[in-house]
């Protein structure tokens, strides 16, 4: 097992900077998701850690040892790609045993390790199958088995679930989580899916336009985004401008008492998640409620998303209440403790 440190990584494609000043420390046995939209530079970072690309500057350390200049085959890191990329001219067990064979393990040892990993990845009985006879999910499990059998210090996963359908994806998530916690392999998991990042990892690192914007636990990133961009990436729709004055955040939507935030008199931006806004259809006059009119709604299964027009602006609300319709008069309550005011 091993700890992974990425120090000040900067990566260019030609003259174009793709990743700038990227720092990340992953503890031994930890699973961290590298999250970001397409083109943010996630795969590039993974390839640099694997040794398939060279950084323009910066350092990569595994267990404190610099591996930046080592070729991929000399690093104790294995990468799983978006596509399974199995060797089409080998059967399942030959694919899985490939790395062991390259490492020079004996035939007996390879056979034992392959049998163990086939069971672990629920591929028993498929060892002699040709890879084109497997389903997409099975192929990705073989790719996982092929990487895990080497017992690498670092496991790098580049959106390995993105080509699977929803049910298979869920099944694979459970499998990966189970194996990762059982084997305790330090894992850097790349995804563009925020929900996947939140449920798969102990910590999430959000990358936007090649820059690391926030690292923290899934709850931290979800509930305490570092800036409006992070909030927006996690589905934040409501941004409120206001001014701090004596422990009160004064906005067009009303004053909100907040815990001590520096910058008395300064203008600030705040956000509140759509599901944190309370919506009531009772139009009786409540002092801390905002009157509004539903502009449109969208049914999202467990909840309904409603765009509510208030005198001070529009707010998006996610409510379990059903039966809302456009034009309906409602009242909104914005609990002060749910309002996140961004620092300067």
């Amino acid at each position: 097992m091993g700890a992974l440190s990425l120090k000040n990584l900067t990566i260019h494609y030609g003259r174009q900077p793709v990743v700038a000043d990227f720092d990340l420390d992953i503890r031994d046995g930890e699973m961290v998701s590298l999250l970001g939209p397409s083109g943010a530079g996630k795969t590039t970072i993974l390839k640099v850690v694997a040794g398939l690309l060279a950084p323009t500057r910066g350092a990569i350390l595994i267990d404190g040892q610099a591996v930046t200049d080592l070729p991929p085959e000399k690093r104790d890191a294995v990468m799983i790609f978006q596509k399974p990329l199995l060797f089409p001219f080998m059967n399942v067990q030959q694919n899985i045993a490939f790395g062991l064979k390259m490492r020079g393990d004996s035939g007996d040892r390879r056979a034992r390790a392959v049998a163990h990993i086939l069971a672990l990845t629920r591929l028993d009985g498929l060892g002699r199958r040709k890879v084109h006879e497997l389903s997409g999910g099975q192929q990705q499990r073989v790719a996982l088995a092929r990487a895990l059998v080497l017992e690498p210090a670092i496991l790098l996963m580049d959106e390995p679930l993105s080509n699977l359908d929803a049910n298979l994806r869920q099944e694979m998530r459970e499998l990966i989580l189970g194996i990762q916690s059982e084997l305790g392999i330090t894992t850097l998991f790349v995804t563009h899916d925020q929900a996947e990042a939140l449920m798969m990892s102990q910590r999430v690192a959000l990358l936007l336009e090649g820059r690391l914007r926030q690292v923290g636990s899934p709850r931290e990133l979800y509930h305490r985004p570092a800036d409006p961009d992070v909030a927006r990436f996690f589905g934040g729709d409501n941004f409120i401008q206001g001014r701090m004055r004596d422990g009160v955040f004064e906005t067009d939507f009303g004053p909100f008492p907040v815990e001590a935030v520096s910058g008395n008199g300064h203008r600030r931006t705040a956000t509140i998640r759509p599901e944190d806004i309370q919506l009531v259809t009772d139009t009786g006059d409540q002092p801390d409620h905002l009157p509004g009119t539903v502009k449109r709604t969208r049914f999202e299964g467990m909840a309904t998303r409603a765009w509510v027009s208030c005198p001070s602006g529009e707010l998006v609300v996610l409510t379990p209440r059903s039966g809302l319709s456009a034009g309906q008069a409602v009242q909104l309550r914005l609990p002060p403790e749910k309002i996140r005011i961004f620092p300067d």
Binding site: A50, L52, M90, F98
Partner: protein, 303 residues
Amino acid sequence: MADPDAGRDARTRRAAGRGSLAVMLLPALMAVVGLFGGGLFLGILQGLGHLPGAGLSRLSATHFSRVWSDPDFLTSFGLTLYIAAVSTLVAAVISVVAALALSRLVNRYRAVHFVFQVPLTVPHLVIAVAVLFMISPAGLLARVAAAAGLIQAPADFPLLVNDRWSIGIILTYVWKEIPFITLMLLAVLQNAGRELLDVGRTLKADAWQRFRHIVLPTIFPALGAASLIVFAYTFGAFEVPYLLGRTYPMTLPVWAYKHYSDIDLLARPEGIATGILIAGMVAAAVVTAQALTRAARKKGIVL
């Protein structure tokens, strides 16, 4: 319950589709079957001894068996096999090295691809003449070597055309076929090869292991198919050995031509029989190439 009418409709649509496809292909098929098939039929007929102009009309396999038992035919067969095999082998080995070297360049420099496409358009005859100008005793290399003092006179330059080892012929084929095989291999390496190589690197394979266990199996179907096509072509080609080969022994196509154009009309059936045998070998090579390609596609290797 499945709707039987729907199934019938689908079958009718498929049959109609096949019908219209056959109609569209008919003109081309008629030309191919009429010209090539007709020629082949007449050839087989003459090879079997049906040559009324020479007073031959009884069909028999005598000419085929006479060809097989002729020592000159077997010598020519050996020479043709040698030239085709060596040309194919040398071109294949150089192409593998070239494709590997170029596979990383092609993405960055599209011109590399273009440069390799150009020789494909040049006829073999032109390259044969170019080789003649370059390496014959009166050619450019001989003159340069003499001018540089490496040899006393151009005539001292080693004989590389119309020579015993058919070096001029092999050089022509190698020069002409390398781009063809290289482009075939590049297509495979560009499609799946590079990604698989990246996988191999992260799975601890060193450069030799990647070549042995990933590159070779990946390119093998394409290499096999391309090599068989090259082999078939070089085995059946006439103009290059006619221009750059010795008068004896001669390659099979030249041998067939000589017999066919002999003033003795009775030699013609043997020439034709030789041509039919060459066509048979070429057809076998093409069918094998097709089978290799199909097997590779079935395995998921893109060609």
